[in-house]
Amino acid sequence: MVTQYAFFFNAAACSGCKACQMACKDRNNLEAGVLWRRVYEVAGGGWEKKGEVWIPSVIAYNISMACNHCEKPVCGLSCPVKAIWKREDGIVFVDTDRCIGCRYCEWACPYTALRFNATTNTVSKCDFCYDAIDAGGTPACVAACPQRALDFGDLAELRKKYGETRQIFPLPDPSQTDPALVIKPHRDAAWAAERAAEVANWEEV
């Protein structure tokens, strides 16, 4: 039995096509401006002089990020009305019938997974396509990825298969929330901080 569902993201394979983002939006009928899965474009660097030669040191990679269904979900711990809770399989779930729309969870989540829905006046977020999972299916984002950059499964299994990495630039310190996430880093991620890379598409995410 799965005790903690998790996502795997292969940053080295992601082309930034945003099919995952659109599949999520389509499946969940999300309003304009509400994104449960977002693709961040990380960019930076420039030209670097080595000896007499100028060489490009450009940083460019993408991060597809949804709720990481953290083992220590700060959103749920902060919620004053217990509208955010964890299922037995680890999926962190928002009960929109309980939510009072105070948006405190939005502040608390360092992955900015919680998104306010102005139509329902409550927060909402990735529910791991739990109904599809329960029926033996696959989350929409994972199914849509043409590069097979996304995978899902039990956290322990994903770690065995892909390794233990769960943080790349500019994701937060994972010890804060213990995200159920496994990442294969892009090669540029190792240099992103020192080359002053930053998210380049704020208006989209």
Partner: protein
Amino acid sequence: MWKEWPLVAFTIAGQAAVGIFLFAGLPWLLTMRTFPNDEARGLWLVLQALIFGLLVVAASISFFHLHRPFRARRVLTNLRTSWLSREIFFELCFMALVALETFLAWKKPEWIGLFIGVMVAVSLAGILFLVSMSKLYMLQTVPDWNQAYTPISFVLTTLILGALALVLVWRARVGQGPYPRGLLEVTFSLIVIEIVLALLFTPRRGAFGYRPGPSLRPPDETPRILHVGRLALLAAGLFLIGMEVMTGGFRASSGRGASLCLILAFVLVLAGEVVGRFLFYGLLTRPGR
């Protein structure tokens, strides 16, 4: 940032209420423990009514922050882990105890033992309200707020607004009197401390303030001019309080009524605190629309 006006009003009004109580109630509790005459009791009742009024205003305005206000009755459900639940709990405790203590001072001033007991409880509830207000924002996941500057600035707002409001009420009701002597000097010093700390440690803007690294949070779009505006308002208020102290305005006054200088100083300092609180919320931009 501007959308957070209900939180700005809630925190400022709540902190001012606690501040007035701390400056009016604690010295009374530690020294007098009785009302020497009806005038003193009348002044006490006015102060308590002001505190209660501020708390009612704060609680009412906080509903504008909720997008589903009719579900707010559940807000005390998660006292175990949520500082937001605890903040509301302690605010309600503080409000109820202030009401009880006002009733006792009004109708049963002879029950001094019970009154002192309730006063101790009010002081504790007020302090816990202030602590929970600070802890609410000191989230490990929000490094801009998880700084010592957050509780220090909340305490300074509490003390400055509390002391100034007390001086104003005292001047309006009593005129010259022994109790708040020195309070203006204390307020002056607290504002100096606030300006110096703001210059040095305001996150993102102070000389040694915390500078966040890149993250998944949207960039801060708060206009820089607000920080300068906050400092200018506090400095202007400080100047007027200094004038009042230097010219002996307080001691020279023999009649009732607060001077225009003092009223203006209060307005300027309050405006400075409000701008500072907007800046505080502006440190964290909400994602999406």
